[in-house]
Subunit: 327 residues, 2 copies
């Protein structure tokens, strides 16, 4: 069942004691560059370093008190992992997280630091959903899906609700909103949150090339798998197809999606560090990359984009910047 705007409002109340009320901030640098007015939603400043804490916190808060002792299980390349682990720690619940063994070290270490047990798997050889299902059965634990769950989508949607509130406070009417997209929990939640709050902006998903399942699905009018293949530099955005619940919601809410290349993501990482003074992980810059490459016509428009996560090593970002500068 798809979530409603009331579910987002309820999520906002549930997560308020724990989540950061992240800012929406105008960027004179991007205004000058694009000829529009550009606002940034800084989810890199969210607890655990990405928006994923919103959904995880809301979903865990919905687990009845009687079921909390048995804990939760999740599978994730890193940001959902940290969101679930941190929420579980706050609620005093055990958490087991199934993570690919090639996930960025800071994501694995960050997850462990929140007290979760990590089970590593091989991204190519193993079936993470099967591993997670077995762990849930063994423990009687609740599986916390990364996106295809109404409670998760409603949690991510609180970011859209906040963007609507802040835009109103600044006296601006948003024309276009861009968010990074993997399985689609964030973009669909944000679109629902904005619409429910009365903002009629066009909301666009931005995905890595070859992992642009949402873009393709929106074009086809039905869920379509992207080709996948070679891993993207955006380790957080590699779901090849949107979730079922996600797409049911997204198909009525989203404007056409965009896809960006690894080189475009790298240039966006460098731009964020050099010009915006923000350390954003590759996947977290997808919306910025779509703007910088002119995929969205920005001139004269009021635009908001989500910088969705910052969980990359400083040294990894330094390497990306070195490559982007040479190119």
């Amino acid at each position: 069942m798809t979530p409603s705007f009331a579910d987002i409002q309820a999520a906002a109340v549930r997560i308020a004691p724990y989540a950061v009320r992240t800012p929406l901030v105008e960027s004179p640098v991007l205004n000058a560059l694009t000829g529009g007015r550009v606002f940034l939603k800084l989810e890199i400043l969210q607890r655990t370093g990405s928006f994923k804490f919103r959904g995880a916190c809301n979903r865990l808060a919905m687990i009845p008190q009687s079921a909390r002792d048995k804990g939760v299980v999740a599978f994730s390349s890193g940001n959902h992992a940290q969101g679930v682990a941190a929420a579980a720690q706050l609620f005093g619940m055990p958490a087991v997280i199934v993570m690919p063994s090639d996930a960025p070290r800071p994501k694995i270490e960050g997850t462990r630091a929140f007290g979760a047990t990590i089970v590593e798997y091989d991204r190519v050889r193993d079936d993470r959903e099967a591993i997670a299902a077995r762990l849930c059965a063994e423990r009687g634990a609740v599986l916390v899906r990364p996106y295809d769950d109404a409670g998760i989508i409603a949690g991510q949607g609180t970011a859209g609700l906040e963007m609507a509130e802040d835009a109103a406070r600044f006296g601006v009417v948003l024309d276009e909103v861009l968010t990074p997209c993997s399985g689609g929990g964030l973009v669909s939640g944000v679109a629902l949150g904005l619409k429910g709050a009365g903002v009629s902006a066009q909301v666009h998903s931005v995905e890595p090339e070859n992992f642009d399942g949402m873009k393709r699905s929106l074009e086809a009018g039905a869920r379509v798998q992207a080709p996948g293949g070679k891993l993207s530099i955006a380790d957080a955005l590699m779901a090849p197809i949107p979730g079922v619940i996600v797409f049911e919601l997204a198909k009525g809410l989203l404007a056409p999606g965009f896809a960006v290349s690894d080189a475009e993501l790298e240039r966006a990482v460098a731009f964020a560090a050099d010009k915006l003074k923000l350390l954003v992980e590759p996947g977290g810059t997808a919306a910025l990359a779509a703007l910088l490459t002119g995929k969205l016509e920005a001139k004269g428009k009021i635009i908001a984009l989500v910088l969705s996560g910052g969980n990359a090593d400083f040294s990894a970002i330094a390497d990306i910047i070195a490559r982007a500068t040479l190119r």
Copy 2:
């Protein structure tokens, strides 16, 4: 003459069309580390990359239309330079900026990019005030001082007014506020803005060791020169003595000041990048350094600190982080 709270309110109206309404954002990482609640005022996101645009924009907006053609002159190691140059460009005024030849390249280039004429001087050999006075006399231009001017202080004070507004919006009562300090325009303006808005927090200056003129002056009850000497890594914070107007205001408003070493500043730069995902120049981290080193007892307190500027090269920050990590 010292500025009043009404001057800050007037400045807020003057700069609103141009300045970024920068966010105040809570940091779960710093909460966990300190046992307090810590909010960050992100002046690294201000137009020109530091709070200095506030004062410059307000001061230039106060110049009568009839005097604008002859333009402005300023001396600065970089952040005030960019603030004045950007404000002059917005108001269509010529600007000449007297800058030390060893100022960080991005600050010199940034200033030039805003259309200003740069006059370089030798920090040791030349008298920058004399050079600026001569330029003003030749051109009939207005000298825009970096801190010892009621219009500048009132402009910087808008940051304090915004912090008071945001704290009220979040329903928190600030106990302690920390800001980096050089000549004292920011810390005294912020203290006045907070007090005028009804916030009774203790406001502390944080300076580099040996450039802690404000700390020493507050202790002595009169303006005292710090020893200076070896240049600090905080190129933006090397005024050895607070301004006359600044200190007249500050002595009745500020709690005791703090001083931090270069090593403490470097660790704060690394912490900001690694844990907060923010690129802050060394001087911009002074308040954070005072918190991280426990100079301010934070446990159980609600604290706001200003991250005052981010105008350092990414490579310079990478070098600092490499050093801080080795130490």
